[in-house]
């Protein structure tokens, strides 16, 4: 099946190579260092916050800080900020499914003592 295809098409068929033309952005060591510093800083904050009695806010702050650190690692150390939409969507799907597991299972446990209808 010999086809006369254009040079462009042969070298960059739309869905084979780099379909979304995500750039080869190289994150610099300086950016990495800033991320590194941020992570250490927030680790310190999380430890400090644990020793302060904020009642119900304690676990919320701890999780929020952990999530922030995770997001920073994902975006910069793992380059997701500079990746194609597909990779971004993939990461989102992972967390979405994780949340479905947690939330919907929780819906049973939270409502158990209400079950005396």
């Amino acid at each position: 099946m010999a086809h006369q295809i254009s040079h462009d098409q042969a070298h960059d068929p739309p869905n084979v190579t780099n379909p979304e033309h995500a750039e080869h952005h190289i994150v610099t060591p300086v950016q990495y260092s800033m991320v590194f510093g941020t992570l250490l800083l927030f680790t310190g904050i999380t430890v400090w916050a644990a020793y302060v009695d904020l009642k119900v806010l304690n676990p919320i702050i701890a999780l929020a800080i952990a999530s922030f650190k995770a997001v920073v690692v994902i975006l910069f150390f793992m380059h997701v900020k500079y990746q194609s939409r597909l990779v971004k969507l993939t990461v989102a799907c992972g967390f979405f499914t994780f949340l479905v597991l947690i939330m919907m299972t929780l819906c049973d446990y939270i409502s158990r003592s209400w079950g005396l209808w």
């Binding site: 070298h11 190289i26 060591p29 302060v52 701890a62 150390f77």
Partner: protein, 247 residues
């Protein structure tokens, strides 16, 4: 089928085929993207794998909060905090390694990979120290678990914890089980990672990743950072449940 080694004018999609090019891929770019995407999908499976453990933690922390709080205070914040910093540093060096591979600097790549490994091993070392301490204090769940410290803290010289009822004290076993299961599963992933690092460092030393073929370093980096992220959640959830007990 000989592969072309000449570079075409379409520079943005560079047609230089590295020796590691696989023939079922049309271009290097496609291979790299596929590899990266594949590693992300694998990480998704890891998220769901740890997810089950995180849910179990969530459930039992809610049901037995006093036991979890007291048991959590048995863990050492200096050691855990140091480990967090160590792992973050290890991740930092890994990221630098990826950069070094991308800019084709072999020596920097090797040094950063070695540093990544060293800090990873340091993490495991501290983990061993922590586990050993638990062993000595009979806080490993099972037949030899000792609840006396939780039922009667005063007798053990602990002044800032409330005593637990014997029933609730038994539930500290569930905390310790989750502690060992979650950090143990995490440590298993670290050990596998360290093993892979030895292999990758050796290959990097031989120059395999400093002429444009960066995929293994990039993809391993993704794995290593993921393992780091799991720890970023484990640390506050296990070590910092209630560090202000009697306020």
């Amino acid at each position: 089928m000989p592969h072309e080694t000449a570079v075409h004018e379409h520079e943005e999609h560079g047609h230089v085929f590295v020796p590691q090019h696989r023939h079922h891929f049309e271009t290097e770019e496609q291979q790299r993207e596929a590899g990266s995407f594949g590693m992300w999908l694998f990480l998704l499976t890891e998220i769901m794998f740890f997810g089950g453990l995180f849910f179990a933690y969530l459930l039992f922390r809610n049901w037995y909060y006093p036991a979890f709080a007291v048991a959590s205070n048995q863990l050492s914040v200096p050691l855990g905090g140091a480990n967090t910093a160590i792992l973050i540093t290890s991740g930092f060096f890994m990221a630098l390694g990826v950069w070094a591979a991308e800019v084709r600097k072999r020596n920097i790549l090797v040094i950063t990979l070695i540093l990544t490994t060293l800090f990873g091993v340091a993490f495991l070392g501290i983990k061993y120290v922590e586990y050993h301490e638990k062993w000595e204090k009979h806080h490993i769940p099972g037949a030899h678990f000792d609840v006396s410290e939780f039922v009667n803290p005063a007798a053990h010289g602990i002044t800032d914890e409330q005593p637990l009822s014997p029933d609730m004290a038994q539930h500290t076993q569930i905390f310790f089980f989750l502690y060992f299961a979650m950090t143990g599963m995490h440590a298993l992933h670290m050990i596998i990672g360290v093993g892979l690092l030895f292999w990758l460092t050796w290959r990097a030393y031989r120059g395999e990743f400093s002429s444009g073929y960066v995929a293994p370093i990039e993809n391993f980096g993704l794995y290593w950072h993921f393992v780091d992220i799991v720890w970023l959640f484990l640390f506050p959830l296990l070590y910092l449940i209630n560090r202000h007990p009697l306020h």
